[in-house]
Amino acid sequence: MAKLIVNGEDQEVQLPATVADLIQQNNVAQPDMVSVQVNEEFVDREDFATLQLNEGDTVDFLYFMGGGQDKESIEYRFGRLGVQCSAGRSRGTKTNGQTFSTKEDSYV
C-alpha cells in the first residue's frame, strides 16, 4: 500500500492506480463533474483513466458549488427571454455585449 494525501488527508492506496481508480475508490458522487488536481496541477479529464498515481502524491477533488441567489432563476429567466427548452444542447448563441442600456437608479 502507498500513502497519498487526498483532500488534505492521508489515504492508503493500492498501486498501480490511476486518477479514475482513485475517483472510484473514494465514491465521488458525480465522477464526470469532479475537477482533479495532482500535486497542485489540474489534470485533463481525458487523462483521468491513464494518469498513474505515485507514492506521496497530493490529490484534490474539487466540486461544483452553486450559490445563494435563489428562486428558480433559470426558469424565470427563460420566461423573461421568451425561451423554451428543447432536447438538444449544442448550438451556442454568442454575442459580444454592446447593446445593453443600464438602468442605473431607475427603481428608487
Binding site: G66, K71, G82, G92, T95, K103, D105
Partner: protein
Amino acid sequence: MFDFTEEELNRYSRHILLQDVGVEGQEKIREGKVLVIGAGGLGAPVAMYLAAAGVGTIGIVDGDVVDLSNLQRQIIHTTPDVDKWKVESAKETINAINPHVKVNTYRDFLVADNALDIVKEYDFVVDGTDNFPVKFLINDACVMAGKPFSHGGILRFEGQTFTHVPGTACYRCMFKTPPPPGAVPTCSQAGVLGAIAGMLGTIQAAETLKYLTGVGELLTNKLLTFNAKTMDFRKINVKKTDRCPICGTNPTITELIDYEQAACDLHK
C-alpha cells in the same frame, strides 16, 4: 487632506482605529466601486457589510422579486419586502444602513449582452449568484475586462470561495465548462442552511475590503472550502492553467456565452 465629516469619522472610527486601514484605507473604501451580482443569500450580507463599511458606490444586479422563501437567509430583505424587486428592497436597506453610499440598481439578470457594459464600471465584482451559467459568465466577463472578482458558492452545509485578480487562477482554470443543466443541484433544489450564506458572504465582503484597502493576502490561487457540519475549513492551492480556455496561453473563448441559450431554442 481627507474630507471626512465628523459624522463619517465617527461612523467609521472602528476602521480608522485599525492600523492597517486608518483614514487612508477608509478613503480607499469610500472611493471604491463594487458590483454585487445577485441580491440573494450571498449578495445580501456582502452588500450590507460593504454599505456599513462605507464603500462609495455599490451596484446591484438582480432581475428577481423577493419571495417569502428567500427570507430564511437573504437578510437584506424583510417581510414587508415580499413581492418587491430585490434591487429595490436591497437599495432601501443599504440606504438605511448608510446614506453615504451611492447605489446603482440593475433590475435584470446578467447576460452576455449586458455583462461587459456593467462590469466595466466597477473596481471589484462579487459573484453572489446561484447558477453555473452566470458564474461562468461573470468569470469570463471579468477576465476579459481585467476586473478582479470574488467567487462564491454554497450548498446545503458547505461553501467555497476564491478571489481572482488578473494573472491568477480563474474559475475556468478549475472547472473548464459549466455542468449540464440540472446535473448539479442549486440551493433552490437541494436546500441550504441560511447561516452558511452569511458565513460565505462575509468572507466575500472581507475579501472585497482587503482588495480595496490593499490589506493582507487575498484568496488568490486558493480555493477556500468549508463544511459547517464539522466546521472544517480548508484552503486548496490552485494554479492558473496554461490550458485554461479563457485565461490560458491560447484562449478558445473570445466572446461571452449565454449557456442557457446554448441548451435552448429561442422563440419569439
